[in-house]
């Protein structure tokens, strides 16, 4: 698998360029009701970070603020020498090219083939005309095949995305994110729609790929045991704030009570 820096001639100087620094991130959907309350956290250039917390606590909002699918109300997001919170237009798009994202409901373009979906990871680099005519470069296509091979979907390259099962779709969606040669991988509850075994397979795939590429991964996840199994670091969120930050082994029942509230759900 070619390394990202060799492939696209990006300006990655060192591994520490991949670190993500979030400062005082605040988001209010309605004024006076902040969903994210001045969240500050620093993510190292390597490693899997899992974010756990109850529904509605701002996990999705936090992840989406990073690649600006949602615009934060206040705060800074420093990544690769730029403040993502203050970028607009072309600069924002250029920054987004280096951030891959995997979604809970896969978000593949249903009517397009698996191949076209994976190639759409390169849309930040091709013009409208080439996208319309599907004129991707030979290097892109070769790389797409190799990535599909790695996620185990090489045989499905020409199938329509809506003909696949959930686990298969998520693999394609991971391939699409990898196609971007990302410097950061975000995942918003990638396994919430999958059965237990497929969930483990998908998380293994994501974490192995990220380790190979030496890029940080941030995963929102519901399942605490999965989070503990795969993550190097766990962030627990409650009411829009980070209330736990430590290694998976440090996470105990007290912490879980603080994060999720209530007791009856813990076995």
């Amino acid at each position: 698998m070619t390394e990202p820096s060799k492939y696209q001639g990006s300006e990655i100087q060192s591994v520490t360029d991949h670190s993500l620094d979030i400062r005082n991130l605040t988001k209010e959907y309605t004024r006076g009701v902040p969903v994210l309350q001045s969240v500050s956290v620093s993510i190292e250039a390597n490693g899997i970070t899992a974010i756990i917390g109850p529904s509605g606590t701002g996990k999705s909002t936090l992840i989406r603020c990073i690649n600006r699918l949602i615009d934060p109300t206040e705060g800074d997001i420093l990544f690769r020498g730029k403040n993502l919170a203050k970028l607009y237009g072309r600069e924002l798009r250029f920054a987004r090219r280096h951030i891959g994202m995997v979604f809970q409901e896969y978000n593949l373009v249903e009517r397009l083939s698996v191949m076209e979906n994976v190639l759409s990871g390169r849309l930040g680099y091709v013009s409208a005309w080439r996208a319309w005519m599907r004129k991707f470069s030979a290097g892109d296509i070769e790389r797409a095949f190799s990535i599909l091979e790695q996620v185990g979907m090489a045989d499905f390259a020409n199938q329509r995305a809506d003909a696949l099962s959930g686990g298969q779709r998520q693999r394609v969606s991971i391939a699409r994110a990898l196609m971007q040669s990302p410097a950061l991988l975000l995942a918003d509850e990638p396994t919430s729609s999958l059965d237990p075994r497929t969930s483990v397979e998908i998380l293994e795939l994501m974490t192995n790929q990220a380790k190979n590429l030496e890029i940080p991964v941030m995963i929102n996840i519901h399942d605490v045991s999965l989070a503990q199994r795969f993550a190097d670091r766990v962030l627990g969120m409650a009411n829009g704030k980070i209330v736990f930050d430590g290694s998976p082994s440090e996470l105990n029942e007290e912490h879980l009570k603080t994060i999720y509230g209530g007791q009856g759900w813990m076995s």
């Binding site: 699918l69 090219r97 978000n107 373009v109 009517r111 849309l123 409208a128 699409r176």
Partner: protein
């Protein structure tokens, strides 16, 4: 014990349906009103009977259909066909951008209001009325017909385009945006594949509609078979009239066939 809105369950298990008295009053009022307005029209049974008699005489004069002036017939028919096809083509060309501009999930409100205003304007008048206006503006002939039917097409298809765009899944678009794709690329890869199927349906419907309307605009001098038909009628050449009517039916049937082929190709 649940109280259902359609009735009540008593403890003994009987069910009394609740009558909607407002609806009943509404229906009665409608019947009374219909009786009243029919009495206002001069609906005379004798007139109806003598009308039937006249009608049968009239039909008798229409058969056998007279195709001797077939050159005139073909010329008019071809012109109608061309008017229909060109108007559909131009209508679709204009409706594509108009539909996007009118889609409330893609464009800011001021843009969608303007676009929708234009579309409503195009749709307000029957094609024949619009044809009269264009005949006054650009003179007799096919140009007026093409312009009138283009306007009619835009009024119909652009509205339907906009509505299908508003119904698409935003999740697929979110994922394409996250790759750093430019706005045109998001439209091409995120929006288009989702709406293309429905678009071809609308286009083939509008083609059929334009073929029918193109026979009509000739009535006001905007070209096509309508003029010939009207002239034949006024000269009491009823057998020629029936020849024309039969040819129109044949054209519409052929249009159906083309429609089916189009659907199969563009599936």
């Amino acid at each position: 014990m649940d109280v259902m809105r359609t009735g009540t369950l008593s403890t003994s298990g009987t069910y009394t349906p609740q009558r909607n008295w407002y609806a009943l009053v509404g229906w009665l009022f409608l019947l009374v009103y219909l009786a009243y307005i029919t009495s206002l029209f001069d609906l005379d049974f004798d007139r109806f009977i003598s009308g039937l008699d006249n009608g049968s005489k009239f039909l008798g004069r229409m058969f056998p259909p007279n195709f001797t002036r077939y050159e005139l017939l073909m010329e008019g028919l071809f012109e109608s066909l061309q008017i229909g096809v060109i108007a559909t083509f131009l209508g679709v060309l204009i409706s594509l951008p108009m539909g996007f501009l009118a889609a409330r999930n893609l464009m800011p409100p001021w843009v969608t209001w303007c676009a929708r205003g234009v579309i409503v304007l195009c749709r307000s008048f029957h094609p024949v009325i619009v044809a009269i206006l264009f005949v006054k503006a650009v003179g007799f002939g096919a140009l007026a017909g093409v312009m009138a039917l283009t306007v009619a097409s835009v009024g119909f298809i652009a509205k339907l385009f906009a509505e299908s765009i508003e119904e698409i899944s935003l999740k697929q678009i979110e994922a394409v945006r996250a790759t750093g794709a430019s706005f045109p690329n998001v439209i091409l890869i995120g929006v288009f594949p989702q709406v293309m199927g429905r678009f071809t349906g609308f286009i083939s419907y509008q083609l059929d509609s334009n073929l029918r309307n193109s026979t009509m605009v000739g009535l006001v001098g905007a070209g096509g078979i309508g003029g010939t038909l009207f002239a034949a009628f006024q000269r009491f050449d009823y057998d020629f009239v029936s020849a024309i009517l039969i040819s129109i039916i044949a054209v519409i049937l052929a249009g159906e066939g083309v429609n089916n082929i189009m659907r199969r190709i563009y599936r």
